[in-house]
Each structure stands twice: as structure tokens, then as C-alpha cells.
């Protein structure tokens, strides 16, 4: 639960957080609600998937994270669904949740009620059914083991420093005191709402995704966008 726009009252916030925690305990599925002031001209889907890639909500291997994004000024929402949940919370289901559950309440200005109902709808849909891991192409372990042995020999021959310093390091995750902190390279975002790491640029500040710990769920664009 990250309310960067100050949309919810403290009581609503606490209640929603409890609802999210209860849902996660019951189904194992991690859901995060993030409220921003404005998209600042960014594409909703583009911003959403990059946020999902950054936060990595959901369990590793199961890829069962769900993110509900709200942009207050743009009156736009998006439900971003992790790979593993795509068969259960399909795009059509996500779309229905936004159009029929969330949007009507938002239109009446009942933001907390809309969010709560949407969170409840997502967890109802899961209904305690544990998400099945999605089969995906993956390097088999024997091959990895072979590479490991080979790399070891190579490293000994060519001296460790030579080969290791050149190896690509694409993403680093360190567990900070306030949850996951994901250092961000300079090649990342240069505009739009700021989503954690690096230098703070935009007016929308996003700390290290405080309040939850993403375990490595992956996203591929499942879910739906909507407006109210």
C-alpha cells in the first residue's frame, strides 16, 4: 500500500493495508496498491510494467503478484497481473473488476471503498486457490552446472579478476531496512514520475516500495487499464 498522492485518510489506509495482508495470508498472493498524483504525460502501460519490473511483487517462480495503480489527476487505473496469475485473473476479468467494481465507486468519490472492493474482488477470484507455476523456457540445471565447472576452470586460467569484472551484472537487489531497495543504473528513467532509486527527479517520490518485500515475481503485461 503506497499512497503517494495522499488520497486516503489514515484510517482507510490502515484498513486497506489490513485487507491486503489478510488476502496475502489467505491465498499467498501478494497484492500492492499504489496511488500516484499524475502520470506526467507518461504512457500508463509503459509506466506500469516498469514499476512491476522494479518492484517484482509476488513470489519468485510463481510470479503471482498483482499491482493496482491509480493516477488521480489522470483519472486512470491499471491492474497489472503477474505471469502466474494470467490464467486466473485474465485481462477480461481485470477489465471487469475495473469497470464494474472500481470505477463506479471512484466516480462517486468513494476512493477507499473502490479500492477495497477491487482488492476483495481480486482475492475472491483467487479463492484460496494457489497459483500454479507457469512453465517457461529455462536453462536446465545440468547445463548450468556444466557452465559453472567450465567457468571455474576458465577463471583459474585467466585469473579471477579478468573474467569476473567483465561479467554482466544486470540487476542487484539488497535488502534494506525498509524493504527492498533496488539500486538503479543511470541508463534507466530520465523523465516522468520517479519510481525509486537513483536521483530523485519528479515531484512524485517513491521510496523503496516501503511496506512490502517483493520476492521476484515477474510480469508480462497481463491485466487491464481503465478510467473513471
Amino acid at each position: 500500500m503506497n499512497d503517494y498522492a495522499g488520497l486516503l485518510s489514515p484510517e482507510d489506509r490502515v484498513r486497506l493495508e489490513q485487507r491486503l495482508a489478510a488476502g496475502e495470508t489467505a491465498t499467498g498472493t501478494q497484492m500492492v496498491v499504489a496511488i500516484f498524483r499524475s502520470l506526467e504525460g507518461e504512457s500508463l502501460e509503459d509506466f506500469s510494467i516498469r514499476l512491476a519490473e522494479r518492484w517484482r511483487v509476488g513470489r519468485r517462480g510463481l510470479d503471482d503478484g498483482v499491482i493496482l495503480l491509480v493516477f488521480v489527476a489522470d483519472r486512470r487505473v491499471r491492474l497489472e497481473v503477474g505471469y502466474g496469475l494470467e490464467p486466473v485473473i485474465t485481462d477480461a476479468v481485470s477489465d471487469a473488476i475495473i469497470r464494474e467494481v472500481l470505477a463506479p465507486r471512484f466516480r462517486e468519490g468513494r476512493y477507499a471503498a473502490g479500492l477495497e472492493a477491487a482488492v476483495a474482488a481480486v482475492y475472491d477470484r483467487l479463492g484460496g486457490r494457489p497459483a500454479a507455476a507457469r512453465p517457461r523456457p529455462r536453462t536446465p540445471w545440468p547445463v548450468l552446472g556444466f557452465f559453472a565447472v567450465f567457468a571455474l576452470i576458465v577463471a583459474l586460467l585467466a585469473w579471477e579478476s579478468l573474467s569476473l569484472s567483465r561479467r554482466q551484472r544486470r540487476r542487484h537487489y539488497t535488502l534494506g531496512r525498509e524493504g527492498w531497495y533496488v539500486p538503479v543504473g543511470p541508463q534507466w528513467r530520465t523523465s516522468g514520475p520517479w519510481i525509486g532509486g537513483g536521483v530523485r527527479r519528479g515531484p512524485v517520490g517513491l521510496p523503496s516500495g516501503g511496506g512490502f518485500s517483493g520476492a521476484g515475481g515477474r510480469f508480462g503485461g497481463g491485466g487491464a487499464s481503465g478510467r473513471w
Partner: protein, 197 residues
């Protein structure tokens, strides 16, 4: 005699070091190329997913707007053309092959957007539950296409960069690694095709 041995030892170490380094560069390239191939498989998956939606979409629209025959036929034709072009990972080194793939998919983009403009004229169709479901699936698929294209391009960038970095590029040339083609964003596709109603 002793100088002879020393020279041999130095040469031996030099060969071992160079060989080890070459193998390490080669393996990095193999790994990055594998990554590109996986991302490419994903790209084809999501395009296939879109193609799979179309027969159903065409049928649904026909149910309400049978008289729009030309547009419907155009979509069916564009779909057939698009599914006809599949690229093996080896073909990715050929920018023209990727351009062909993109061209047929763009043809389908165009046909689909024309169909969706036509749909505007049929309010009954637009409130049809089956159509709404298809519409959200199509939107989701377009979104997935944009994402997988970007991920593919990122993987290609990593691979091509490693390929061109000197002196690793020497190893790459000897081992026969070749640069892969990027997806290009044509002027009209600067923003991913969106399904709007």
C-alpha cells in the same frame, strides 16, 4: 638451454591465458544469444496470441455487422499473411527478415484498427459481452506485444554491445557470432497501436 625452457613456459602461460579469455568471451556471447532467442520466442508467442484472437473477433463482429464484408475480409487476409511469416532465431541476424516480419504485422495492425473504427457504428455490438471480453483481450495482447518487443530489443542491445566491444569482437568474429536486428519503431508506430473506443 635454460633460456629455452623459460621461453616455452612463458609461451605456454600466454596461450593458456588467451585461450581461457577467448572461451570466457565466447560463453558470454552464447549466453546473451540464448537470451535474445528466448525473448524472440516470447515476441512470436504474443503475436500468435493476437492472431488466435482474430477468428473469434471476426465472427463476433460479423454477427452484428455482416454487411462490413470488405473490412472483415481484409482482417482475415492480414491475419493469414501475418501468421505466414515466422522467423527462426537464426534469421534474426538478417535485418530484412525482421523487416518482413514487422511489415506483415503492421498490415494486421492497420486492418484491425480499421475494423475497430467500423465497430464504432454498431452500439449493440459495442455493448455485447462477448465483444467486450475480446476487446479487453486484444488490448492486453497489444500491451504484451509492446512489452515483449522492448525486452527483445534490450536483449539484442546487450548481445550486440558485447559482440562489438574490442578485443572481444575478435573472438566473436572468429567464432562466427553476428549482430542481431532490432525492432524498429516506424513513425506511425511510435506509440504502440492502441485499441480505443
Amino acid at each position: 638451454m635454460r633460456a629455452h625452457v623459460a621461453v616455452l613456459v612463458v609461451l605456454g602461460i600466454l596461450v593458456a591465458v588467451l585461450g581461457g579469455w577467448a572461451v570466457s568471451v565466447n560463453n558470454q556471447l552464447v549466453r546473451l544469444e540464448q537470451d535474445v532467442n528466448e525473448k524472440w520466442a516470447q515476441v512470436q508467442n504474443v503475436y500468435q496470441r493476437r492472431a488466435d484472437l482474430i477468428p473469434n473477433l471476426v465472427e463476433t463482429v460479423r454477427g452484428f455487422a455482416a454487411q462490413e464484408r470488405t473490412v472483415l475480409e481484409e482482417v482475415t487476409r492480414a491475419r493469414a499473411a501475418a501468421t505466414g511469416v515466422q522467423l527462426t532465431p537464426e534469421a534474426l541476424t538478417d535485418p530484412k527478415a525482421l523487416e518482413r516480419f514487422q511489415a506483415v504485422q503492421r498490415g494486421l495492425d492497420g486492418a484491425l484498427s480499421r475494423l475497430l473504427v467500423v465497430v464504432e457504428r454498431y452500439p449493440e455490438l459495442r455493448s455485447n459481452q462477448n465483444f467486450l471480453t475480446l476487446q479487453s483481450q486484444l488490448e492486453g495482447t497489444e500491451n504484451r506485444i509492446a512489452i515483449e518487443r522492448r525486452r527483445y530489443n534490450e536483449a539484442v542491445r546487450d548481445y550486440n554491445t558485447r559482440l562489438r566491444l574490442f578485443p572481444g569482437s575478435l573472438v566473436a568474429a572468429v567464432a562466427g557470432f553476428r549482430p542481431k536486428a532490432f525492432f524498429e519503431t516506424s513513425p506511425d508506430a511510435a506509440t504502440p497501436p492502441r485499441v480505443k473506443f
